[in-house]
């Protein structure tokens, strides 16, 4: 027959029995104290009183406890410790009875464990530890050269990591993030950006069309845009403007934001998905992320635009920046930014410009607007050391698991 400590037994082994607590308190109070004084001080005071009295260590007079004799040792505590260590043969039978009565130990059968004695086992179990039987078995030595099973960490997608870095960087520059619908009205994607109704970038090889027409919610803006198109291009096709498409540039988000400005100055950015028909290969896909931003405020000029671009270029990790003239239908002047990257040389980093007044005025904005866009896919490939954009939407779990981010 074997004995193990109950939960309470374990606790007292650790903290000391209540009667020990009681005697120690009495000594502190000079040998006598009111019960009420100790009630909050000693846990399970009543148990302590019961056993101290039984052993003749104290007397109770009315509500007062009086120390009669101080015990030399607390046999039950010693017994608990021995039982814990598995040295049951060193414990007096009477004490075992008392401990059983006090529910500080309980009987257990160890037949199945006894079978293990002197044998080599593989797993150390909670029971072996609790019963002390671990001393009577041999734990098998492992072959430390056996390779472990693979462990797969939970990880961010590397592309998301780059995107989040860009996001944080722009927020630190004071840009506020905006969103817009993936299914867009051609109006916000093209017309509001001064692209004439017959612009070649509005044809089927540059835009995905979907069925249906959008609603005109900002009649004022639609009327302004119609006027400017008729004045500058000589015509405007409203039915075309109403067509629904998949957003082909995040400048559509900028246009919506400009039509709904509530504060000045303001810096706004968007990092989001756009869609364009294209051949699908290592360099092209029909969906990609675009990062675009605007700075809206009084007295902004071309030199400020270049100033922001030089700041934003830092995300590419290049030290030198170069600017070159460029063309976008909605900006004038327009500029293309190149960043010098170690080993690669000059890399095209993005386009920018000051929005034309033909764009800003119809949207109700009468201050300069600096606009820029980053080649986010290119940036991600650069940062990840890849040359195939298909990795960005990769279906390859092995690669995702192994790539260091």
């Amino acid at each position: 027959m074997q004995y193990v400590l109950t939960e309470e037994g374990e606790k007292y082994l650790h903290t000391g029995l209540p009667e020990r607590k009681l005697i120690e308190a009495l000594e502190k109070y000079g040998g006598r104290v009111l019960i009420s004084e100790l009630e909050s001080e000693i846990e399970n005071l009543s148990i302590g009183l019961l056993w101290a009295k039984k052993k003749g260590w104290i007397e109770l007079k009315f509500n007062e406890i009086i120390l009669v004799s101080k015990p030399e040792k607390y046999e039950e505590e010693i017994a608990l410790a021995k039982i814990k260590e598995g040295k049951i043969e060193e414990v007096d039978k009477k004490i075992i009875e008392i401990l059983l009565q006090r529910r500080l130990i309980e009987k257990v059968s160890y037949k199945h464990l006894e079978e293990l004695i002197d044998r080599e086992i593989i797993s150390l179990t909670p029971e072996l530890i609790k019963t002390g039987f671990w001393r009577k078995v041999r734990l098998k030595k492992y072959d430390i050269n056996v390779p472990p099973a693979q462990i797969f960490r939970g990880k961010l997608h590397p592309y998301i990591k780059v995107i989040n870095e860009v996001r944080e960087f722009l927020i630190s520059l004071g840009f506020k993030e905006a969103k817009g619908p993936l299914v867009e009205i051609e109006f916000w994607n093209c017309d509001a950006l001064f692209m004439p109704s017959d612009h070649i970038a509005r044809e089927i090889h540059d835009i995905f069309f979907v069925e249906g027409e959008g609603k005109i919610e900002r009649k004022d803006v639609w009327e302004n845009v119609e006027k400017v198109h008729k004045r500058c291009w000589g015509y405007w096709d409203k039915d075309l403007a109403k067509r629904l498409i998949l957003r082909s540039q995040n400048t559509a988000i900028s246009a919506r934001e400009l039509a709904n400005l509530s504060e000045l100055p303001v810096k706004i950015f968007a990092i989001d998905r756009v869609f364009r028909p294209d051949t699908i290969d290592a360099k092209h896909f029909i969906e990609f992320e675009q990062c675009e931003g605007i700075v809206v405020g009084e007295n902004l000029n071309f030199r400020n635009l270049l100033g922001y671009l030089r700041e934003i270029a830092k995300i590419f990790g290049g030290k030198e920046v170069r600017f070159k003239p460029s063309y976008f239908p909605f900006t004038e002047p327009s500029v293309e930014m190149y960043v010098k990257i170690e080993k690669l040389g000059w890399v095209e980093a993005g386009g920018a410009g000051i929005l034309r007044e033909e764009v800003t005025r119809p949207l109700g904005v009468n201050v300069p607007v600096l606009a820029w866009g980053l080649g986010l896919g290119r940036l991600a490939l650069l940062k990840l050391g890849l040359d195939d954009i298909r990795y960005l939407y990769s279906t390859n779990l092995k690669w995702l698991r192994e790539v260091e981010i």
Binding site: F152, R153, G154, K155, L156, H157, I160, L170, I171, S172, G174, F175, E177, K179, P181, L182, V183, I185, I204, F208, F209, V210, E211, G214, K215, E217, C232, G234, L244, L246, P265, K267, F275, T279, I280, F285, I286, V295, N299, L300, N301, F302, R303, N304, G307, R322, P325, S326, Y327, E332, P333, I354, E357, E358, P368, S394, T395, L397, K398, R401
Partner: protein
Amino acid sequence: MPTVMFNKKELLSFVGKEIKDSELVRIIEALKPSVEEIDEENIVLELTSDRIDYFTVEGLARAIRSYIGLKNPKLSVSKPRITIWKENVPVRPYIGCAIVRNTKLNDSFIKSLMNLQEIIHETYGRKRKKVAVGLHDFDKIYGTIRYVGANRDERFIPLGESKEMSLIEVLAKTEKGKMYGNLIYNSNKWPVFVDEKGIFSFPPILNSERTKITEKTKNIFIDVTGIDRQAVQKVLNLFCLVFIERGCRIESIKIKGESVEITPNFSENVFELSLSEIERILGLRLGERQIISLLKKMDYEAKEVKGKIIVVVKPYRFDIISKSDIIEDIAIAYNYDNFDPYLPNLFTKGEIHPIERVSNKIRELLIGFGFQEIVRPILTNSKTQFEKMNIAIQDTIKILNPVSEHYTELRCWLLPSVIEFLSYNTKEAYPQKVFEIGDVVIRDESAETRSRNIRKVSGAIADNGSFYAEIKKIVVELAKVLNKEIRFEEVEHPSFISGRVSRVIENDREIGIFGEINPIVLENFKIYMPVAAFEFSLE
């Protein structure tokens, strides 16, 4: 953006000066094009669509010449000697014509002209709809020229053919007729130029074999037709520019219709700039003299009148719409490299979009659970998101002009993207725990765009065993992180095993679903491993 290749020697002979490669690249790039390649023979440029004049070696040479301070030939035109009678042809109402005298055509010249013609047709001409150009041997044209609406059975010998064809046959049988016939087909009368001998041009489809241009051609008749008066004029001007640069003389033509017009019209397009608006846009304080010399570098004529700069724009500049276009040219002449960038003192508060903040929180949670993030296209197809998922096909947003059968519509739920991902990785070690956070799009007739994005998260565990409880635990944690009070509700969903699927409800609204994937779905995706998965809305 379009790419063109020029013969370097030819370009430099037009410029009229030897220029070292490095210097040539610097000049051209400062003028806007990007130099893709340069070698002994050729130079390859990437051009922007605003400067159509750069598409010709003559136009680019002219720009370089003014940029480096050489003199440009004057754009002049002599008085009309010839009159064209013009009927009203509603399908193509505008024409512009000119005669080029003293042409010395050679192979490269003809190639250059054909090249320009093609570029104009493809880009600015909107595939010949807006503008089309024809060039003819003027000496093969006899008597009075008229622009008239013809019946479809009238006949001529089209370019490249040996026999007469009726106009309708030209549309039906020739390559160009098939390509561009739709531009005029629905009209009663089709546009043609005729002389004594009959039709010699059938715009915007084909010229005639009779008036075809050869190296022997001495005088050229240009016909430009279209539906936009200004565009027709500008294209004619650009062709005239090329001929003038080649040393030819342009003779104008009187066009008599409802009114009388003389083309080409090099009349001046004048803008008035003030120093302050240039400073406001560029952030540069430039003097009048400096501005005038910068403008001259960009081939403008400019002078100062009472503190204002009067700018005359060349007739072939299609892209100058307002002052800002000219101010950009001032910046280009000043050279972008010479601008000193500076950040204005403009304090604003940066902020992440709330849905991205939530998305990042969820990423953190799922990575803690050992999930690998994936990113998939939003475009998908019906087969993947409905059929293979064992559910009825739903009304989703479809593309009218898809480029691949794999990507024909927008995903309206996220789970198929995750399951499809697993199907690509059946050879990779299990357990596989993956998730995606991304947008789906659903119809919403009340919205401005008749649809709405919804940010969702979906994840799956593929492993030998039952992971329903594990997935449920994750859903409970998701709700905790999102501060949502949820309850679970029994549901039948054919993508999941009956009795092992639950809806997630918040305030009587379904915001998610999870359970063990139906083996039918696993079979459809050829995944031979049990999968438990969830999809959850983050909005």
